[in-house]
Amino acid sequence: MNLKRVVVTGIGALTPIGNNVEEYWQGLTNGVSGAAPITKFDASLFKTQFACELKNFDIESHIDKKEARKMDPFTQYAMIATDEAMLDSGLDLEKINLNRAGVIWGSGIGGLKTFQDEVMYFAQGDGTPRFNPFFIPKMIADISTGYISIKYGFKGPNFVTVSACASGTNAIIDAFNYIRLGKMDVTICGGSEAAVTQAGIGGFNAMKALSQRNDSPETASRPFDKDREGFVLGEGAGALILEEYEHAKARGAKIYAEVVGGGMSADAHHITAPHPEGEGATNVMKSALEDANMKPEDIDYINVHGTSTPLGDISEVKAIQKVFGDHAYKLNISSTKSMTGHLLGAAGAIEAIAGILAIKHQEVPPTINHFTDDEEFDNKLNFTFNKPQKRAVNAILSNTFGFGGHNCSIILKKI
């Protein structure tokens, strides 16, 4: 079967270190931390009192007040990142076949704030079942693609992938597959998450998943540092316009990169703990390389999952060394979660964008907050600690792994 080629023709980012792609890249290369004390609610009773929230962000300057009110924040973020990516792509809605244009989005949780607020309201009452009619349509994770399709009139395949922190990458790989199979010409894909709520912080705290470094939020996300002790919750969205190559060429589109391979695997090991030897992570990177018909030596930069948890960082590095062998010493590795925090279902989207921007600018963003080496890691590996590095970046691989044992890797290449 003759597979089509798939390229990225538009990107949009709404992140804790920048509210659009340009600001995001500045934040990434300046080594900015997005972590700060939580402003969305009084977190004084919580073990973790900080997060990577969006900043200087006024929803009503992006979305009409009446519309915004009916959307959970995760959908609002999806709309804003999508608008930027669509504008960037230069797509003319009058000139494309809307029946062959789809939306595939990732969200790990969906409308957590809506769920929390509505259930709390009910629980505080006398038991009379009074639920807002927008409760369900605001909360369900797939409403994000519903709204996007309504706004842009995209009538092709439309759904949300839910694979926890792998959801965003999952969505991009699904979009890539539909386009290369010839089922769509254009797809809006990516992911969004808005879990900085009492339920989100409290829930992840109960799992002992979050950093509790309340006296220094900005240094809390420190992947591969000896004193790492959990991830920092982030929020936001990333959107990519994937397009069939000939379709993009025919309209003279700007092309950022080609999507060349995707891998998916499961650990089949434990609901939340990573496989200690990184078996699922090893398999997923191998399968992405096979899918791309590339050798390990072809990869210049790995944007790792690297959430800054004690175990997760170790198993991922073991997997990288297994897959890449000696080439692991020649490529750059970095965890941009050191700056953005962990955006769960949006992580794969904003990190694929970080990879795309690394290709565009021929520069690798850093892993900030490195203070103390950990002997668990081979010190000949280049984690791009603390400062960005200029280098030739022809191809990047981005990893994301989710609770449930879901693993996704994607490879993008300069065109």
Binding site: K65, K66, T128, R130, N132, P133
Partner: protein
């Protein structure tokens, strides 16, 4: 304008995102103020919350305009 009427209008302005000048007695939620079926259900719920009453479904279905909402609440709110 009665206190009830003022509170009803404030809810409608907030929930439907319309101008106060549009919220006149004869304005229909769906035909004039842009509400869809879910908006209408939400409005009834907000009236119930604001006035601490319960509006049975069969009566809620009869409330389609600003004026009908005000009259219903003026007659039923203690």
């Amino acid at each position: 304008m009665s206190d009830i009427a003022q509170r009803v209008k404030a809810i409608i302005v907030d929930k439907l995102g319309v101008e106060e000048s549009e919220v006149v007695a004869e304005a229909s939620f769906t035909n004039d103020l842009g509400a869809d079926s879910l908006d209408t259900v939400e409005l009834i719920m907000e009236f119930e919350k604001e006035f601490n009453i319960s509006i049975p479904d069969d009566q809620a279905e009869q409330i389609g305009t600003v004026g009908q909402a005000i009259s219903y609440l003026e007659a039923n709110v203690k």
